[in-house]
């Protein structure tokens, strides 16, 4: 299994990672090798096996619908790289 540099570049965009040219090249090599290894699973016939996403098989857990204290806004945003005391600040999304 071999990935092209173009494949890896598309995955980097999906993963929101601005990789350098060197990183893209190295990642292409390494991911090809790792994907080749995990393709070992293809030798098993799993057509009749139900996927297991979670070890517990727990179903939804609900609590009583009663209001309770939550983290105050000022604490929740205190560690943000940019904030105005009330909101997180991000670069303009709709243009200047």
């Amino acid at each position: 299994m071999s990935l092209s540099r173009d494949d890896v570049s598309k995955v980097a965009a999906l993963a929101r990672l601005a990789l350098s040219e060197d990183e893209l090249e190295q990642m292409t090599r390494e991911l090809s090798k790792i994907v080749g290894f995990v393709s070992l699973l293809a030798e098993l016939d799993t057509s009749a096996i139900e996927p297991l996403a979670h070890p517990l098989g727990t179903t939804n857990v609900f609590r009583e619908d009663v209001p309770a204290a939550s983290l105050p806004v000022e604490l929740a945003i205190a560690t943000a790289p940019k904030q105005d005391g009330e909101c997180f600040l991000v670069p303009a999304v709709l243009g200047d």
Partner: protein, 494 residues
């Protein structure tokens, strides 16, 4: 009496009956860290003032005749993946450098409520991704048995700080072996509880269906003592089990007579270091001497464990680590973000912040997970891995209908030289051979020393048990430790 030479059980008893003060225990731990940790790098943060204040509060409580918590005065190191409201929590990543969470992880809150003294935060592989602790953005941890060698990972700091007797016990987390493997390579005892036994609230998420917090110490009895405090239901973690917590330390006396222990012949194939194989085989003899019977069993899908794990864990990680977006906490790029190469300045800010904040292994796993979850590949990779996960769990269910516990190696080799495997990510992944299936099945496992190599490196023995079998797991390990002295050996540190 040197407090750093005591077991957790002994230290807590000495504080409770007034033979030692909590301040003396804390000071001894801090002194040892000051003397040794420049060479070990086990701690990313030492909270000297906070620890002494917590210890003074314990001593004041005792002086006032108030009841003490079950871990009163116990110096504990906590892996830097657990949130602490008064200390930085970095996950050994530049992404979270300087981050101080607004709340304590459930485990941290329980330790404080039990009057334990949190000494500091321990080094680890970045975001718990690694098997050598060399992926820390703040430098590797050196193995106290040989500083040219790795501690294993990802809870390498938590293993090393106990091995070097800087603290009496520590907290690690185990997603695919991250407690058990470093415990094995550092000659300490480390327990990965059943999935859901310990709340994950406040544990920085790596792979949520696999992550589990657990104790590390010099003995099974010490791990049981700490587990009594940190286990239990947490309404704020919907995957934490609503099951009573047994008094593990009170359940160690029953002999092992009649307990059936499985041995998997395939565990002893090519690639297992002969000295490790010999020590592990001798481990089976010790358990036999304690009254257990040994039975050969098969886990037919175990050979698919590493491939299954390296799909599921990166897929979950790629989703969990999407939260590091330069907005809510952590690193944000200083670049102007006005390039035409991105859809918008916001997307460019995401992409640059993440590329600058994450180290190479974290990027690799986020990429691998994103790829395996992407349109056209989901069925071939992620879904198939989930199907094989069911087969692996069925193997365990089948095995535990024939035996009570499964014994074997925790790691194919003793501690390896720093730098030996850093150029080959896949070789590093293969180190997880003996440990990942425990997490995939959601069962429990423990690693403890069963011998030493000719050159003086510890060898770990792993026992695995079915869900919620911690009482039997700890009892078997404790029996082993009553018959052997391996866990009492200490490295000759400066």
């Amino acid at each position: 009496m040197q407090p750093t030479e005591l077991s957790a059980v002994e230290l807590v008893a000495a504080v409770a009956n007034g033979d030692l003060t909590a301040v003396a225990c804390t000071q001894a731990a801090l002194d040892r860290i000051a003397a040794l940790d420049a060479g070990t790098n086990a701690f990313l943060h030492v909270d000297r003032d906070g620890a002494l204040a917590a210890a003074e509060a314990v001593d004041a409580k005792r002086a006032a005749g108030q009841p003490l918590g079950p871990l009163a005065g116990l110096p504990v190191g906590v892996k830097d993946a657990l949130c602490t409201r008064d200390m930085p929590t970095t996950c050994a990543s530049r992404m979270l450098e300087g981050y101080r969470p607004p709340y304590d992880a459930d485990t941290v809150a329980r330790l404080r409520a039990a009057d334990a003294v949190i000494i500091g935060k321990t080094n680890m592989d970045e975001f718990a991704m690694g098997a050598s602790n060399e992926n820390s953005a703040f430098g590797p941890v050196r193995n106290p048995w040989d500083p040219t060698r790795a501690t294993g990972g990802s809870s390498g700091g938590s293993a090393a700080c106990v091995a070097a007797s800087m603290v009496t016990a520590s907290i690690g987390s185990d997603t695919g072996g991250s407690i058990r493997q470093p415990a094995g390579l550092c000659g300490v005892t480390g327990l990965k509880p059943t999935y859901g036994r310990v709340s994950r609230r406040g544990l920085v998420a790596f792979a949520s269906s696999l992550d589990q917090i657990g104790p590390m110490g010099h003995s099974a009895a010490d791990c049981g003592l700490v587990l009594e405090t940190i286990a239990g239901h947490d309404p704020l973690d919907s995957t934490s089990l609503n099951e009573a917590v047994p008094a593990y330390t009170q359940l160690l006396e029953e002999p092992l007579a009649g307990v059936r222990i499985g041995r998997v012949p395939a565990h002893f194939g090519d690639g297992l270091d002969p000295e490790v194989a010999a020590a592990v085989e001798e481990g089976f003899r010790v358990l036999e001497a304690a009254g257990a019977t040994i039975h050969d069993i098969d886990l037919p899908h175990a050979k698919y464990g590493v491939a299954t794990y390296y799909l599921i864990a990166p897929c979950e990680a790629s989703s969990n680590l999407a939260r590091y977006d330069g907005v809510h906490y952590g690193h944000r790029t200083k670049e102007p973000c006005r390039s035409d190469a991105f859809d918008s300045p916001l997307v460019e800010m995401y992409c640059r912040s993440r590329a600058e904040g994450f180290g190479p292994e974290v990027k690799r796993r986020v990429m691998l997970g994103t790829y395996a979850l992407s349109a056209g590949y989901y069925d071939a990779y992620y879904k198939r891995a989930l199907q094989v996960r069911r087969l692996i769990r069925q193997d365990y269910q089948e095995a535990f209908s024939k035996v009570d516990l499964i014994g074997g190696p925790v790691s194919a080799t003793p501690a390896f030289p720093l730098g030996e495997k850093t150029d080959d990510p896949l070789a590093m992944y293969l180190l997880d051979l003996y440990t990942v299936t425990t997490n995939l099945a959601g069962v429990c496992g423990i690693s403890f020393p069963c011998g030493f190599t000719g050159s003086g490196l510890p060898v770990g023995y792993q026992l695995q048990g079915p869900a919620l079998a911690e009482p039997l797991l700890l009892r078997a390990a404790d029996r082993f430790q009553r018959l052997t002295e391996w866990h009492r050996r200490r490295p000759t540190t400066a």
